[in-house]
């Protein structure tokens, strides 16, 4: 038994799961609170990655520092998006919601192409490529930090949802918005805030993406698909489920990549095949849902 390979694969899987989880958090929040699957979430992540890139290139701000900054920028971008495009269709059939967010997604992808061209951009710092050696396993420093930050973001989100007033309002609204309205919660404002927070999370995870991967207009789309896979794996609209799903996806990709013949080719397709298999077997996702 080749322990070195096994442990390395395990480590890789866990680390990438951290990134996936960060990306999926915002999507989960919007789905849980408003019941909308935001097809454009990946593009918000992409914008976060670009904002980190430009902050770094133009102002020399270290990507680690710009995580909160990108998060804030995207928070403020998310608000008008909600107000002008999402709010009008909250009561529409899911078909319309799908088409609308899909339209926003296409629009943002192409906007990025027009503004910044299609070349991939990388954020390189003095510590890119450094790695820690823990016994038989090499852990990239950037990846490790990303993982830790993703965990931090999750903890913040959970604290926010359980301790902070607006957060608890969001939870109330997600359970029953009529009852919430009846007891005086401003449902519209809660939705607005939730979307903003979700966008902020997307922006922050975009910053992480720009350090681990590279930035280009389509990076959001690829991540979206993985996020959908995680949603379906872990249950829609609940956070532990999202974490669980991220872990499964990350580990599966990593192990298939290492052990399957021609694994690296198949690994990228894992997310799609998982989606199909799971939905076919259990149409409401593996861990059940909050809505529906």
């Amino acid at each position: 038994m080749d322990w070195a390979s096994f442990l390395q694969s395990l480590a890789n899987g866990i680390l990438i799961a951290g990134l996936y989880a960060a990306v999926t958090l915002g999507l989960t929040l919007v789905l849980g609170v408003m019941g909308i699957v935001n097809f454009a979430h990946g593009e918000l992540v992409m914008l976060g990655a670009y904002s980190t890139f430009w902050l770094f290139t133009l102002l020399g701000i270290d990507p680690m520092l710009s995580i909160p900054m990108s998060g804030l920028i995207l928070f403020f971008i998310g608000l008008p998006i909600y107000r002008f495009t999402i709010r009008p269709i909250l009561k529409d059939p899911p078909l319309n919601q799908l088409l609308l967010t899909l339209g926003i997604s296409i629009f943002l992808q192409n906007l990025a192409m027009i503004l910044w061209k299609a070349d991939s951009r990388a954020v390189i710092t003095s510590y890119s490529g450094m790695s820690l050696h823990l016994g038989m396993v090499h852990v990239g420093l950037t990846r490790l930090v990303t993982f830790l930050i993703a965990v931090t973001l999750t903890i913040f989100l959970v604290l926010f949802l359980y301790k902070a007033r607006p957060g608890r309002a969001m939870r109330a609204v997600s359970e029953n918005n009529t009852a919430s309205w009846l007891i005086g919660i401003n449902v519209q404002k809660t939705y607005l805030l939730a979307f903003g927070v979700a966008s902020g999370l997307a922006g922050a995870s975009g910053a992480l993406v720009s350090t681990i991967m590279y930035t280009f207009p389509m990076v959001g789309f690829k991540l979206s698909l993985k996020a959908f896979c995680i949603l379906i794996l872990g249950g829609l609209g609940n956070i532990p489920g999202a974490l669980f799903g991220s872990l499964i996806l990350g580990l599966t990709e990593s192990f298939v990549g290492t052990y399957a013949p021609e694994g690296s080719g198949w690994a990228e397709g894992i997310s799609f095949m998982l989606i199909m298999v799971i939905l076919i077997i259990k149409p409401t996702g593996l861990a059940g849902t909050r809505r529906e």
Partner: protein, 295 residues
């Protein structure tokens, strides 16, 4: 329409053929949409049709038109299986599954070059030896066929069934309409024509690769056109296609990149302001100005 090829040059004829092909795909998508299911993975069926025709030609020299037919039938069979497995899913999940379906096919295709030609793609000699007029007539016939089928659906009991399922599936069920069966039927018909379009595409363009025929761009194009023109109508997908192709060509010549941004804008604008597409806009806003309302 019959004498059309004699009137225009081959560049324009090519554009027309491409447009007709798009119309076929738009109308096919609309057929499934009538049951309330949104597919964002038509590329999967298109690609199956394309590869069936191309590979059958390559291996056994099957004449192109028969190859296209084979592609259509195979796409239809895949749709039956996929349909029964996934059409129980509601809107969003079905959509996500279709995206995953097309992408998964793309990956499988790339990883099995022995059977599918993999990344190298498959090439075929030019359709009808490059005689574009014949290609034009073929595509015109198929287009007419699709329109005819949609008209048939609209004037039969199927229309009632599809609409009932689309509006409220549970109620339809209670009324005795088996939703899954009708949805699969719609999917089959849609797949048949999309598959045929794929087969035609592979012979007409002489060279296909997985990235292209299973690509998301195709799936998106299939849905933007009918939505723009007007869902659940005969003329909607047609008008939507013409306008979008014209806008696209204009943008392509004027701007270097990102002209696909128009697709995104159109989707957003349509959903927010004209959910019934152009046709709906016409019927509700413009026609009444002339003092009559068409029912």
């Amino acid at each position: 329409m019959i004498f059309y090829p004699k009137l225009v040059d081959s560049y324009f004829l090519h554009l027309t053929v491409a447009t007709f092909l798009a119309m076929i795909m738009a109308s096919s998508w609309d057929i499934l949409a009538r049951t309330g299911q949104v597919s964002v993975g038509q590329a999967g069926l298109f690609g199956i049709g394309a590869y069936t025709a191309a590979l059958l030609y390559q291996k056994v020299h099957l004449p192109p038109v028969l190859g296209m037919l084979a592609g259509a039938i195979l796409a239809m069979i895949v749709a039956i299986f996929l349909g029964y497995l996934t059409l129980r899913l509601r809107g969003i999940y079905f959509a996500i599954t279709t995206i995953a379906f097309a992408e998964a096919l793309s990956v499988i295709w790339l990883m099995t070059p022995g059977v599918t030609g993999g990344a190298m793609g498959v090439s075929t000699p030019p359709l009808f030896n490059g005689n574009r007029e014949h290609a034009y007539y073929l595509i015109l016939i198929i287009l007419a066929l699709v329109i005819f089928v949609v008209w048939l659906i609209e004037s039969s009991r199927l229309n009632f069934a599809f609409t009932a399922i689309r509006e409220n599936e549970e109620v339809a069920n209670v009324m005795g309409i088996n939703p899954t069966r009708y949805k699969v039927l719609a999917f089959m018909i849609s797949a048949f024509f999309t598959g045929f379009a794929g087969g035609f595409y592979s012979h007409y363009n002489t060279y296909i690769i997985p990235y292209e025929v299973f690509g998301l761009g195709i799936s998106i194009a299939c849905l933007v056109m009918p939505i723009f023109g007007g869902l659940y109508t005969i003329a909607g997908p047609i008008i939507g296609t013409i306008l979008i192709k014209a806008i696209e060509e204009y943008l392509r010549v004027t701007f270097s990149y990102g002209h696909q941004i128009a697709y995104g804008l159109i989707l957003v604008v349509v959903v927010l302001f004209m959910p019934e597409g152009l046709l709906g806009l016409w019927k509700r806003r413009i026609l009444p100005l002339f003092g009559r309302v068409r029912q």
